[in-house]
């Protein structure tokens, strides 16, 4: 069978990517459950009225709370957020997936959309942090 340690080590070797492993799911449990609560219209209304007050009901870490309030999605991924759960947040803000996702890439929405129309981001140089380091190619590392 698969060596579980090797399996999870490899998942951390992809540039610019946070695979939603059990470790992240644990860290992000309350964060994702908070986001899920925004599926209900009543909760969305309370959230929009006073975000900080709404968050007080949820066991988030201070870092998670700060990243939620500032809509720092890359940071939220680092802190255990999963994109399908975080989507409840940016949908409530009226953002599409393209708009929200582009904020994580450091590109403007327009540039990101132009990249997609041109065929998307190439996998070249984006497959492995280790391989990039070995070849001296740092593009997209981490």
């Amino acid at each position: 069978m698969t060596d579980i340690h090797a399996y999870f080590a490899e998942l951390e070797d992809i540039p610019g990517t946070r695979v939603y492993t059990g470790k992240r799911a644990r860290e992000g449990y309350h964060l994702n459950q908070f986001a899920m609560s925004l599926m209900k219209a009543d909760n969305r209304a309370r959230w929009k009225a006073d975000e900080a007050a709404y968050l007080a009901d949820w066991h988030l870490t201070d870092e998670q709370r700060k990243a939620v309030l500032s809509r720092d999605y890359n940071r939220l991924l680092d802190l255990g957020g999963n994109i399908y759960f975080l989507a409840k947040m940016f949908s409530t803000d009226g953002l599409s997936f393209v708009q929200a996702v582009s904020t994580m890439t450091g590109m403007s929405v327009e540039d990101y959309q132009a990249m997609m129309v041109a065929g998307g981001r190439s996998a070249v140089g984006q497959r492995s942090i280790r391989a990039n380091a070995a070849s001296g190619d740092n593009k997209g590392a981490n």
Binding site: G22, N32, A87, V101, M104, T105, M116, R121, G140
Partner: protein
Amino acid sequence: MARITAGVATSHIPALGVAVDLGKTAEAYWAPAFAGYEWTRAWQAAEAKPDVVILVFNDHATAFDMKLIPTFAIGCAERFVPADEGWGPRPVPVVEGHPDLAWHIAQSLILDEFDMTIINDMDVDHGLTVPLSMNFGTDAAFTTPAAWPCKVIPLAVNVVTFPPPTGNRCWALGEAVARAVASFPEDLNVQIWGTGGMSHQLQGPRAGLINRDWDNGFLDGLIGDSDRLRHVPHIEYLRETGSEGIEMVMWLVMRGALGRETRLLHRHYHVPASNTAVGHIVLEPVA
């Protein structure tokens, strides 16, 4: 005797559902994505006419939150209501189940040593309803029919929290589904659909990744008698097709259910739809 007559795979991109629901399928941006489904819609309506579709999909933090994560769950309910994913449910018909066949498959799979979760109540998200929109209806505007033309058995696979089931396990599940269908006494025309994929990454600095070559190689691998896709490790999907490209393991359930060899009926690939590559294939088992 029930029999699996065809396999269909398709992306289940939410934006395609939105384009259908807002009547935008003919717009320049969307038209090429939808064009590739015209053959399928005509074939479904005129020729294929399934009684039941076993629809392999994943829930996207809709019916399941983080309290409970089933690896394989089969929907045995009478009906499944399109979910409110946060902006109101899609304006599409309720999905009628086939509890007789669904329970039969669930019980067969458990006796066949698959550790199924049985679901008797579940709202279904775009992962399930968008493929229905792409396959059914006959007019050029992709108008949603008043009712779906067949029953649907949802088969939900966890591809969100790692690890998802291995490709081998998905393929084996498909094989077991085919055995289960074959032992159902009623005469039913059953299709199996795999959904999700192709290349896409919705998160992080690498978002927007698309790999046209890999995707097309994957489509190639579904045709004929090769089983090489059965052994593709998760890490390869992630590196080559983006973090959400892992959804393609669900297509292997469909492929496994078609048996040793398949014949290509139709194929379509387009980039982009929103963040994603659109892939679609229609196969039939070679007896």
